[in-house]
Structure formats: C-alpha cells, structure tokens
Amino acid sequence: MHINQILNHSNAPIAPLLNEICHALEKLLLYHENTLIDLHSLPFSPHDITQLVEFLGKGEVEAYLYALGKSIFWETNFAGVWWIEHYNSEESLINRTIEIAYCPSILQAQTEDIQLGKQQLQQLIKSFQ
C-alpha cells in the first residue's frame, strides 16, 4: 500500500514513527549506535499495526528465539530496521518493538551464556579423557 494511502486512512502517529526510524538509521551509520522503539506505548490499533507491517514489508532475514516463549524477528524491506515480537509461553504477544541495528542485540550470543557453554564443553571433554 502506498504511504499516502496509509497516512490518510490512519489515526495513528505513523509519520512521526517513520521519521524516528530514519533518524535512528542515521545514528546507526554515523555512530554504530542501536535504537529500540517500543510500539507497546504508542496508540496503534491492530489495524494500524497491520498497515505498518505491510508498509515496512519483509526483507531477507527472519529469525526465531525460543526463550521464555517464542520471539520473532524479521528485517524489514529497509535494511537495518528490524521488526521484533516477543510472545510468552502461552503464545500471547507481550511486547512489540522496532530495533534499528546491524543485528538485533538480543539475537547475538550473550557473554554469560558463552561462559556457561564453555564450562559445559570443558567438562564434557574431561569426561572423554
């Protein structure tokens, strides 16, 4: 759908949101700084969200995280703009965000988990010897 059609038929603050995303992309390119936009606190109706998803589209990457319920990540048609939906274990949506980053921060392996994994692997290797 064309952006003008969306803006004309929506009561939601879609234009300021798109501007914020644009500024965040500038910040990412200049300073390598990520931005997380919380959609939960914005007055978007389910219809507005559907239109926004349609407008941003789906790009080349889609990923799933299974921790305390499922989370879905996809890069939109605009590289570096990621749509993120967190669900709980009963598959209810608990948070919806847009992250402007090279890769969503939560998708990267976390130092604490790497340390734990390394210990477990070392123990496993010991048990073979």
Partner: protein, 361 residues
C-alpha cells in the same frame, strides 16, 4: 529477605541470558522506561536479593488478589511473583491461625525497615470489630506492620481511596491507607481491580531502583496513570468527528462509535486499560461495548450515574432546535441560519463538569 537473587532463581530454572534480557526489555516497556535503561534493570534484578513482601487484606472482596493470580503464567507477573518472598498473605499462604501470624511477625522482625507492605481493602475506623484478623483490628495491624515497612503499596481503589466500603453512607467509617499512615512512602495502585501488570511493575520498579516510581498528584505511578482513558481510546476519533452511540443497541453502538453519551467516564479517568488491556490483552471495557466506570478515581461509587454523560449542555439542544425552526418560519429568517446561531450558543454554553460537580448538582 532470602539471599538468593532473582538472577539465581531464573538460572536455576534454566532460563538463558537471552530469556532474561527479554524479560527485562518487557519490564522496561511496561514501566514506560526508555530501552536504554534495560541494562540497569538487568543488573539490579540479577543482583538484588529476593524482596520480602507482606500483604495485608482488610475490607475487600479479594478481587485484587484474584486479578493478580488469574494472570496467565508465566508472564512477567508470574515471574515477579515467583521471585519475591511473599512472607504473609492470609488468602494465599498455606499456614493458618497462629502459625500464619507467626510468619508475619518473623518476617517483620527479620526484615525490619526493608520489607514492602502491600495493602488491599479499606480500613474501618468505626467499630474495630467490623473487620479483624486473628483478633487484631485492621487499624492496629496496619499501624504495626507499616511501622517497619520501607514503603507501602495500596492496591485497589479500597486501599487507595476507600472504595466501595467508603461509599455513602460509609457504615464502617472506612478510610484509605494514606488517610491513616502519613510517615511512609505510599504508592496508590487504584482500580477495581487494578490491572495485574501494574501491580507487578510497581514491585519490579521498587526492586530495581530501591524507590517508588514517579507519582501523580494522587500518588499513582505516572507510567500507568499519566494519561486518561479517553486520550488513549481507539474510539477517540469518533468523538472528534461527533459520532456517538446513543443507546447500547443503536446503529452507532453497532458501528463502535464513542460511548461518551452513554456515560463513559474515560475523559476523567486515569488508567492504562486502553493500552495494557485486560484478560491477557484481549480487550478493555470500552472495546467490549460499555463505557468506562472510572474505577481508578476517588469516590467513583458516589460520582452519580454510571450512565449519565460527564458533560451536558446547560440548555436542551434539541428543544432549542425545534423552537428555532418555528421562530425561523415566523420572522422570515432561514432555519439554517438560526440553527447555526443557536448551535454556536449551545456550544458556548457547553460546560465541562467533573464528577465532583455532578455530585454538587
């Protein structure tokens, strides 16, 4: 307080760092904190010992506890409640009688000055026999437990403002927590019942920052009570266009138009129902076709009819229109022109009244 931290408890359950960060991101979102605060929340939750909580229930219907315990697990509510040390809650705890009271006394002694006191229900100040626990009057128990609390959370409209028990003629002399305790930080989380996530977010904030969140003039957390229902209502555009439901089954009601004329109290009610919603995010009263009752505001039971509009013109617009039509024909003016003039006058005379104003009339 238990020495085990929330981080320890989560790790014991096999929850990864990613899961923990997801939990922290959702908590930040709930508390309307900028995402940049996520690392601070993560650090505090990882390293803070489990918070001791004493929950006292006075003149109440147990609806607040129901609201909280009926939330779908394992949501944020569930996680927070799994990881605080709820040392006394006479409805939920297994112990009864003197054993239960001993648990309360022990927790008070062990965590003196550090525990969080949660109160639901109002306190009768008439005959102390109206409501007692283990032979102790509600007023005495509140004073005793409040003395050693770090802060008090008044959950539900009864504890925050007196609620239903305080409604005229207030037979028990019901009072709110802040009417009786003045030397402790008190946060009001009103609602009948309050939204579960608001209750747990307040606890999460206290655990994270060691203090209460930013409050409004009625001591309610700004993150949830900072905006009124009307401003966040998805039916608001219909209000702007002047499209209203006039009865619960007319065309306007079927089309989902604004419920203002059916007595919706959204414009004077500060709460998060329109964005947080109820029943695991399914809907909120206005989405289900009924106006807001204003349950998170003081004296909502005595605020006049739930079905009377908040703001009414001082003259009857419809009658004026009819007279205008007759007068217009008699003096040769166009009906349209007079209508426009009378309409302008009606708009000028259209005064906004609050619940308090309605009560006075």
């Amino acid at each position: 307080m238990s020495d085990k931290t929330i981080g320890d408890s989560l790790r014991e359950q096999g929850i990864s760092r990613r899961g923990f960060l997801k939990f922290c991101a959702t908590t930040a979102s709930l508390l309307a904190l900028p995402p940049a605060m996520i690392p601070q929340i993560a650090y505090a939750l990882e390293n803070t010992p489990r918070q001791s909580v004493i929950w006292l229930s006075f003149q109440e219907c147990t609806g607040c506890t129901e609201s909280l315990t009926r939330s779908h697990a394992p949501t944020i509510e569930g996680l927070i409640f799994d990881h605080i040390s709820l040392d006394y809650h006479h409805t939920l705890q297994a112990a009864a009688g003197s054993a239960a009271e001993r648990a309360r006394e022990e927790a008070m002694k062990k965590n003196h000055g550090k525990y969080l006191l949660i109160v639901d229900g109002s306190i009768p100040t008439g005959n102390p026999g109206y409501s007692t626990i283990a032979g102790i009057s509600n007023l005495d128990m509140l004073k005793e437990v409040a003395a050693g609390a770090a802060a008090i959370v008044a959950i539900g409209t009864c504890a925050a403002f007196g609620g239903l028990p305080k409604a005229a003629p207030n037979p028990t002399g019901a009072m709110s927590v802040s009417d009786l305790i003045t030397d402790k930080p008190i946060i009001n989380v009103p609602g009948c019942p309050p939204i579960p996530i608001v209750m747990t977010a307040v606890i999460a904030h206290f655990i994270t920052f060691g203090k209460l969140p930013q409050l409004d003039n009625l001591n309610r957390p700004m993150a949830f009570y900072g905006q009124n229902i009307h401003d966040r209502c998805y039916r608001r555009p219909f209000y702007e266009k002047g499209l209203f439901a006039n009865t619960f089954d007319d065309e306007g009601a079927k089309k989902g138009w604004c419920l203002y004329k059916l007595g919706c109290k959204g414009p004077t009610t500060y709460n998060a129902c329109a964005t947080t919603k109820w029943n695991d995010g399914v809907s909120f009263p206005i989405e289900s076709g009924h106006g807001c009752l204003g349950c998170s505001e003081p004296q909502f039971w005595d605020g006049g009819s739930f079905y009377k509009p908040l703001s009414v013109p001082t003259i009857k617009v419809h009658d004026v229109m009819a007279y205008t039509a007759i007068a217009g024909a008699a003096v040769g003016l166009t009906v349209g022109g007079l209508n426009a003039m009378k309409k302008t006058n009606a708009v000028k005379q259209h005064e906004t009244v609050t619940i308090d104003d309605l009560e006075r009339k």
